[in-house]
């Protein structure tokens, strides 16, 4: 453990922590745009600079580790002026179209601009202008809103292991792109979308579905596979308008393409919501679960009597949990009386 003072408050933290982490553990907020607690430090936005006694210049708290006896001040008039300058510079190259931006309300840049009262008018100049084009069905990439914080590049590399994105070009023209500036062609897990602090990366199917007015958050479990990630569905009226996940869930907030974008079946007219039995006429007839299970059990019994239990086989699903799969094989062996049991993952 290391003892240091942050804003004259004595704190004791593990020695490998950064100043930013130490501050945040002790309830002291330091502004940042590029830092993400689940990704390695980047040090690009420079908003988290703090003053450390004995250092000639402000230091980036996200990349500087604590040391014994350090005296940190997270806010001085000089530091706040420098932060304002950085925000001015970022906003001077930003569309500032919050009115129509999908990220409004959940945009870190917007929040900081609001907190600092910065409008991006102090250093007017050229803005990057990019034609919109991205042929994929999931992820909208509006690079004019990109502040090059690098979070998407890091999450794609460090969490997903895909490395679909990286920095390209230099200077003011620096840009984050897939290789050769092609359209995005990846797993479309959308982790990049989930960590983007601005409206540069958003879900295509979320567009114009509702931002925060009248949108409820409902936590649920993803039905797609046995992992059982915790999802947060954002529901407006009775419609899911987008899906996210929270960092303190068992899946640490990360999702795959199905969990994040594959929710439209919920309101699909083709979705089966009640058991159906096909009658002799060939027509499906709605029935109750009890009736449907009794009907199926009766047929199993008939087959077993006529052809023996081994005439029946059971195929289980990867969407079931371990426990469900256990029960299923138990049912097949002990209930039906056959060892003909397998799992779709073996197919």
């Amino acid at each position: 453990m290391v003892s240091l003072t942050i804003n004259n408050k004595k704190v004791s933290v593990p020695e490998d922590l950064t100043i930013l982490e130490a501050a945040s553990r002790n309830g002291i907020k330091v502004p940042t745009l590029c830092h993400h607690p689940q990704l390695t430090p980047f040090g690009g936005c420079r908003l988290c600079v703090v003053s450390v006694k004995g250092m000639p210049k402000p230091v980036a708290s996200c990349t500087t580790t604590v040391s014994e006896g350090m005296e940190v001040t997270t806010s001085t008039p000089e530091i706040e002026d420098l932060r304002k300058l950085v925000l001015e510079l970022i906003l001077s190259d930003h569309p500032n179209d919050c009115m129509t931006c999908e990220a409004t309300g959940s945009c870190a840049l917007q929040e900081l601009a609001y907190a600092y009262g910065v409008r991006g008018e102090a250093y007017p100049g050229e803005r990057r202008v990019y034609a919109k084009r991205d042929g994929n069905p999931f992820i909208e990439r509006d690079m004019e809103k990109c502040i090059l914080c690098g979070r998407c590049v890091k999450v794609c590399d460090e969490v997903q292991g895909v490395e679909a994105l990286d920095f390209t070009y230099r200077g003011f023209r620096s840009k984050i792109c897939p290789s050769y500036e092609d359209d995005l062609d990846c797993e479309f897990c959308g982790q990049c979308v989930s960590v983007c602090p601005t409206g540069a990366l958003t879900g295509k199917q979320w567009a114009r579905r509702g931002r925060y007015e009248g949108v409820r958050e409902v936590d649920t479990t993803c039905p797609y596979c046995g992992t059982g990630c915790t999802l947060t569905t954002h529901v407006k009226g009775n419609e899911i308008v987008r899906v996210s996940s929270k960092p303190w869930t068992p899946n640490e907030g990360w999702l795959c393409v199905k969990g994040r974008f594959g929710y439209k079946y919920v309101s699909s007219p083709d979705r089966l919501t009640k058991p159906l039995i096909r009658r002799a006429s060939g027509e499906f007839e709605e029935t109750s679960w009890t009736a449907a299970l009794e009907y199926t059990a009766a047929w199993f019994k008939k087959i077993r009597e006529k052809h023996s239990a081994d005439a029946i086989g059971g195929l289980s699903s990867a969407r079931c949990t371990n426990e469900e799969n256990y029960l299923f094989q138990k049912f097949m062996r002990a209930g039906v009386g056959t060892n003909n049991v397998d799992h779709c993952a073996r197919l």
Binding site: G44, C45, R46, A60, L82, L89, R170, G171, S174
Partner: protein, 594 residues
């Protein structure tokens, strides 16, 4: 035919020499010497060979003809001049006086002290035997067999050698930190990613004496106990790359690189990594990222490379010139090296002297020499009889030193005190025709284009800095633009992640400091006092002086000039593109530029 002991003909073939036709001159000498049959009459040694740059490339192709102890240097040699030199000088012993170098060549060399460049221009850089013949690799042999690594570090510390790449960090101390850093795998990297505009020191050293760099690396590797080395060199230096690779192969063949070197238990080898032309890769953490196959983007420090560098291992990075100093320091002792220079800046420094100077070229001077000695004595003063305005040192990270400070000592401390830096060694001489706003704009444009894009102050801040400078040079400057430049510069300097951004505002701040009135003239009077900023110039014709000769009319590419015979000509300001052609061609000085 006279009896001679030795004849040596040395043809300058650095990049400058080759560009001026050195290859052809060398071939001509070889052919003529062979045809003359002179070799048979020489008792000991007769050779005709290439050498690296000796500094005064402006007079290339330079050729030394050394007969026994008598050396004559010729300048501006072309292949067709060779037969006469061979005939008159070699055969008849009458040097061709009219082709000899002049007084300025001697003046150029007089105040120089050459340590790093001592053998550039003397030995064939492509022959390891030439390097061995002058004592090459003896320092390494001695160190590996008879010295403890700590002794090497102490020697280098006592020599006072500081990093020649720009920052001036004490080399011995860096090695000591490298030695002490825990780890069984360590690296030594030679930074040859020379990128400052107008700087070519490292290129010349590698082209002229690559083995001195290899030997320096070898000694450094031994001192810090590294067994792997990298030379990170720009791909835009094809000749240097070729000679370096050749030198590495030769060193390996002789057993100077590889396993159990010089009979010791020490193993060391060097790989070459080519840089793809990113200026920021000269920054050590970006350079490391580039070797690792990542995009060249700086990483935050600490951790410093000496603790966590290449592949997260302890890594010492030294500049080419720093390493080239090492063999000489070991051979001649730290006391000898420390006898040159000032209290805190020991030894010599190589500078690329360029700009409006009469004798531009590569120079090596003792630290602490005055700027005046460099500009007036070595450089021969300003070309074309103009007045000196400033000396820009340190490239895009440096600053402009005004002519009034010409008696300033050139060392790390003195230059820093006036707002500039020694840097890697670029030294650009500016005269009254150079506009300081334009100068600042040039350097900021460079750093802006070379910014890696990682941090906001550098990526966006330098862009805004550039835009303000651009509008000032276009006559659209605003009253508070100087303050705006200063505030923005302060922010970029304090907030940028790496040295590139932190120093990018230096050219702006130093020109504002010393040449504020030029900024004010651009902003308030919409005038460029040095007549450089095109948008602020107005060309007109003085009717009284105009002889209506029509030469300006013919020279004008925009057809902006009208006039007939015997009628004074006129410039249509709406059409004028301000190219200055009329001003240049008028014999009667009737075209005025304001």
């Amino acid at each position: 035919m006279m009896q001679r002991n030795n004849i040596e003909i040395r043809v300058c073939m650095g990049t400058g020499g080759v560009a001026s036709g050195g290859t052809e001159v060398l071939a001509a000498f070889r052919q003529e010497v062979a045809a003359s049959g002179i070799a048979a009459s020489v008792k000991e040694h007769c050779s005709t060979h290439q050498v690296g740059c000796r500094g005064l490339c402006a007079k290339d192709v330079l050729v030394d003809v050394a007969i026994d102890d008598e050396k004559v240097t010729y300048q501006f040699i072309k292949p067709d001049m060779v037969p006469r030199i061979v005939k008159e000088h070699l055969l008849e012993n009458k040097p061709v006086d009219e082709w000899r170098v002049g007084e300025d060549y001697d003046r150029f060399n007089q105040k120089q002290i050459k340590v790093v460049l001592a053998d550039c221009g003397r030995i064939d850089p492509e022959e390891i035997d030439a390097y061995i013949a002058i004592g090459g690799y003896e320092a390494a042999r001695d160190v590996l067999n008879n010295w403890y690594p700590e002794e090497v570090i102490t020697e280098i510390k006592q020599s006072g050698l500081r990093g020649r790449g720009g920052a001036g960090f004490p080399t011995g101390l860096k090695w000591e930190l490298g030695k002490k850093a825990p780890g069984d795998v360590k690296y030594i990297i030679c930074n040859a990613d020379e990128g400052d505009p107008g700087a070519f020191m490292d290129r010349a050293v590698i082209e002229g004496n690559p083995h001195s760099v290899i030997e320096g690396m070898l000694i450094g590797a031994y001192a810090i106990c590294a067994h792997h080395g990298y030379v990170y060199i720009r791909a835009e230096y094809p000749l240097a790359v070729e000679r370096l690779k050749r030198a590495l192969t030769q060193a390996r063949e002789r057993g100077f690189l590889g396993n159990r070197l010089f009979g010791s238990n020490f193993d060391f080898d060097i790989k070459v990594k080519l840089g793809a032309g990113a200026f920021v890769c000269g920054e050590e953490t970006a350079l490391i990222a580039s070797i690792e196959g990542q995009r060249g983007m700086p990483r935050p420090k600490p951790p410093f490379p000496v603790n966590k560098g290449l592949w997260q291992r302890p890594t010492v990075i030294n500049n080419v010139e720093t390493l080239a100093n090492i063999p000489a320091i070991i051979r001649k002792g730290c006391g000898w090296y420390a006898s040159y220079g000032t209290e805190k800046s020991r030894g010599t420094k190589v500078f690329a002297l360029t700009g409006k100077i009469r004798n531009p070229g590569l120079i090596e001077v003792p630290m602490g020499i005055t700027l005046r000695e460099i500009v007036e004595d070595i450089g021969g003063g300003i070309a074309g009889g103009k007045a000196l305005k400033a000396v820009q040192t340190g490239g895009p990270s440096g600053g402009c030193i005004p002519a009034s400070m010409l008696d300033l000592n050139v060392d790390y401390e003195s230059l820093a005190r006036v707002g500039s830096i020694v840097g890697s060694g670029g030294m650009i001489v500016l005269d009254e025709d150079n506009c300081m706003v334009n100068m600042a704009q040039y350097f900021v444009k460079f750093t802006q284009e070379e910014s890696c894009g990682k941090c906001v102050p550098c990526r966006v801040g330098t862009k805004r800095l550039l835009e303000i400078l651009e509008r000032i040079t276009k006559g659209q400057g605003r009253e508070d633009d100087i303050e705006r430049l200063e505030t923005l510069s302060g922010g970029i300097r304090n907030m940028s992640l790496c040295g590139l951004g932190q120093t990018a505002p230096n050219p702006v701040l130093s020109t504002i400091k010393y040449f504020r009135e030029e900024y004010e003239a651009h902003i308030r009077d919409k005038k460029c006092p040095s007549k450089v900023c095109k948008a602020l110039l107005v060309y007109s014709i003085d009717e009284k002086l105009c002889k209506a000769c029509g030469s300006c009319l013919r020279a004008c590419p925009a057809k902006a000039i009208t006039g007939e015979k015997k009628v004074p000509h006129k410039i249509d300001q709406a059409k004028c593109v301000k190219c200055g052609s009329c001003f240049d061609v008028c014999k009667f000085k009737s075209v005025m530029r304001d």
